[in-house]
């Protein structure tokens, strides 16, 4: 592709941990939501794991607090090209939830549902083995509503639209069905290192 006349690198060489096409947003944390921010009280929130599982299970806020805690410390990447380094999120590993529900052998995919009706699809392999969480704390403070509080999904190795805010349900399925942004032109998997932004990307 052509060089843009008169354009030169403005910022310092990007750190190695920055996926292609991303920039370091620093201390900021952009809010990106396609819908109005819902205000959900902890008392009325719950999360369920259902679909192709042996024991469909639902946890209330109180119940989720009783589960073993797990934290993620590291970087997050948004398809709109910002990355944020060294975030700290605390919640519970999705492995813990899946263990309780018992995925059936034919389950290969997950549809994450938000209480707003937002959905996003993921291969089951992308949310197991310590790679996904549901989280309610960021940097030691309750997750704010605009960032998906009281509880959101966190899948930090994929673009952040996969980390569904206001998570309410993980539905295990045999087939991969597109979620909200995926139907609206975004990539089905969303690996930032492969720049899987839109349908048609590698």
């Amino acid at each position: 592709m052509p060089v843009t006349r008169g354009f030169s690198r403005r910022r310092a060489e990007p750190p190695r941990r920055l996926p292609p096409g991303q920039y370091d947003v620093g201390a900021g944390w952009p809010v990106l939501t396609a819908e109005a921010t819902p205000r959900i009280a902890r008392e009325s929130w719950s999360v369920g794991v259902d679909g192709l599982v042996e024991r469909p299970t639902t946890w209330t806020w109180e119940e989720v607090q009783q589960l073993p805690r797990s934290s993620y410390q590291g970087d997050i990447h948004c398809v709109t090209t910002w990355s944020k380094f060294d975030t700290l999120f605390t919640g519970v590993s999705v492995d813990t939830l899946l263990e309780a529900a018992g995925p059936l052998p034919e389950a290969g995919f997950v549809m994450a549902h938000s209480s707003t009706g937002y959905t996003t699809n993921l291969p089951l392999a992308d949310i197991t083995d310590g790679r996904a969480w549901i989280v309610w704390e960021h940097d030691g403070r309750p997750l704010t509503a605009e960032h998906g509080g009281p509880v959101r999904l966190l899948v930090p190795h994929l673009y952040f639209w996969k980390s569904a805010k206001w998570i309410s349900r993980l539905e295990l399925t045999a087939e991969d069905r597109p979620g909200f942004w995926e139907r609206n032109g975004y990539h089905d998997r969303g690996d930032p290192w492969l720049e899987q932004r839109y349908q048609g990307d590698p």
């Binding site: 052509p2 843009t4 952009p30 048609g200």
Partner: protein, 247 residues
């Protein structure tokens, strides 16, 4: 490209399409600075695809060492316009917006990809309200132009917000389209300075089935709350946030 009617556009964008768009190039045909902090570019896009009002393009700048910077810009023109029009606010120290305002010239070729965004778009049939602030007026301008082209201006209401008249892009076009305009830091003969109120929004909401909120992250948060507080259904609100700052 000629303007199609709404039905043709609908068919071409039927759900289930792949939505894949490839990188292409756009040549700058005109460049204007309607205000010191604004640049308006009109581009001829190679192999251009049709777009819905509300959609955006990605722009990618490439340095000789292959470093690239990529940003999203809403389309201001409607689909019947032979050129794609962008309006960009020049941000201090903004890598792409400063380049577009200060360096880019007529005849330059830029990498572009689009149209993108199948959520924040208007189908040109549904009665809609735009609540837009600052450069967030850009997608509303595309909607206004599409509505006018299709003879359906009755379907669209616009409430545009800016700090001062100088900071409102497309002020004349908005006024001509009958938009309600609110200045937060400037009093007019008909309105004191201040953000739009529930009383100002209420008459615009009647009959609107979908609302498009667009602007800075802070403005979008304010807009959502104003609509939800006025009893508008949250499920019918579509939000587009410009800019990098957020909490």
């Amino acid at each position: 490209m000629t303007g199609g009617d709404a039905v043709a556009l609908e068919d071409e964008f039927a759900p289930g399409g792949t939505g894949a768009t490839a990188w292409t190039t756009g040549r700058i045909i005109t460049k204007e600075l309607p205000a010191p902090h604004l640049v308006r570019l009109r581009l001829h896009v190679e192999d251009r695809q049709r777009h819905w009002p509300g959609q955006h393009y990605l722009l990618r700048l490439r340095a000789p060492d292959d470093y690239t910077a990529q940003r999203s810009y809403s389309v201001a023109s409607d689909d019947s316009d032979p050129l794609v029009e962008l309006l960009v606010e020049r941000l201090p120290d903004g890598e792409v917006s400063e380049f577009l305002a200060d360096v880019a010239e007529v005849g330059d070729v830029l990498e572009m990809r689009g149209p993108i965004g199948r959520w924040f778009r208007w189908d040109t049939r549904t009665p809609a309200l735009c609540l837009v602030g600052g450069t967030g007026v850009v997608p509303a301008i595309s909607m206004i132009r599409a509505a006018r082209h299709l003879g359906r201006s009755d379907l669209l209401r616009v409430l545009a917000v800016a700090r001062t008249p100088e900071e409102l892009p497309y002020a004349e076009e908005l006024a001509r389209a009958g938009a309600t305009i609110a200045f937060t830091r400037h009093a007019t003969s008909t309105r004191p300075a201040g953000p739009p109120t529930a009383a100002e929004v209420a008459p615009l909401l009647a009959g609107a089935e979908v609302a498009y909120v667009c602007g800075s992250s802070r403005f979008a948060g304010f807009g959502e709350e104003l609509l939800v507080g006025s009893g508008f259904r949250p499920e019918a609100i579509r939000v587009e946030r410009f800019g990098v700052t957020g909490s």
